[in-house]
Symmetry: C2
Subunit: 209 residues, 2 copies
């Protein structure tokens, strides 16, 4: 086995153990992945209010700063910030250390907000049940076919910042078509202040997950 395969294999085994712990604790877990600045933290802020802050914990991944964990704490939920330095993704070891520091009692939903990167996090299991991928309407509707690895591992895609689709010449139907070229049956939702029904579907997805 080469070095890369061994790293991925060890990581997968550690992720499996983390997932077992989540399952024993009856916690639903979600790995949130996207490019930088696609609105992961904003979506989580709104989601925390809807699910109830006491039910939610968030593990934040960034190269530097505690900014995102502070935003989550301001909403009343538990947050733990991982700073990766120069590493472009979270891995199971990092999440394991974070989970050790979090009081999981009463937590029903655990979100792992990965480093903003549309490539690398797709290859590293972090122990979650579900992979959630965000695509911002400001990034261009061709991104799913240019970055298929990420859309391939997704269990659900949210198209965010759709209020900017017009000014950015982003064709939402085309984007959904491109997502389905990579991952044919995946559910796709929209997230913006103008789409309250779609946000309700997201909350419903989390509750039924």
């Amino acid at each position: 086995m080469n070095v890369e395969k061994e790293v991925l294999s060890n990581n997968k085994e550690k992720a499996r153990k983390i997932n077992e712990l989540f399952k024993q604790s009856k916690i639903k877990s979600f790995n949130m992945m996207s490019s930088p600045g696609s609105g992961k933290t904003t979506l989580l802020e709104r989601t925390i209010t809807e699910l109830g802050p006491k039910n939610v914990a968030v593990i934040e991944g960034d190269l530097e700063t505690e900014n995102d964990a502070e935003r989550i704490r301001n909403k009343g939920a538990t947050a733990y910030q991982i700073t990766t330095g120069t590493t472009c993704h979270l891995d199971a070891s990092m999440v394991e250390k974070a989970v050790d520091q979090i009081n999981l009692e009463g937590i029903k939903y655990l979100f792992i907000e990965n480093v903003g990167n549309l490539v690398c996090p797709a290859n590293f299991h972090v122990g979650s049940d579900h992979n959630v991928v965000l695509l911002s309407a400001t990034e261009g509707d061709d991104k799913p076919i240019k970055y298929p690895v990420m859309f391939n591992v997704a269990d659900i895609v949210l198209i965010t910042k759709t209020e900017a689709a017009g000014i950015m010449n982003f064709n939402i139907e085309k984007a959904i078509e491109n997502i389905h070229k990579v991952n044919p049956k995946i559910p796709v939702l929209k997230h913006s202040i103008n789409e309250p029904d779609e946000f309700d579907k997201w909350i419903e997805y989390l509750k039924n997950a």
Copy 2:
């Protein structure tokens, strides 16, 4: 030397040789890096028209598709598409192979449009003289301090899509301040349809590079 260090060291040596070739051929070379969908190709399309298509060659890096190379060819410039599969950045070997396929005669400017990724490409030399980093106004003004590695290696930063700054609550002054926290003396320009003077400064930067 560990495996990672050896890979980076071999890459650096190869990049040095590529750069020598560019210098002998009197070609100015630029490594364009940013998140996915920040407007690298759009900036290049406009730049090609201004510099003259015959003077420009572009090496495009994406996981999949020939889309960006086609956009460049439609502007009349030479383009070569590298598809990396699952690899999150270009490296010197990939660029070396691309350069072998390009007729460099008459080329004065060579742009290497890296894979959209605000982390990994920062660590891999590709043989260029200058690192150009784009930050889209849709990504949030805190990105420079959350992804310092990339802003640290930059020689110039362009803030793009500034026409969307208002709708996206992006504070341009705050973004510039954050860029300068990481890289104190770096020039910062804006790129949008509403900023013709700033585009002139970009062209001037390229001509004097």
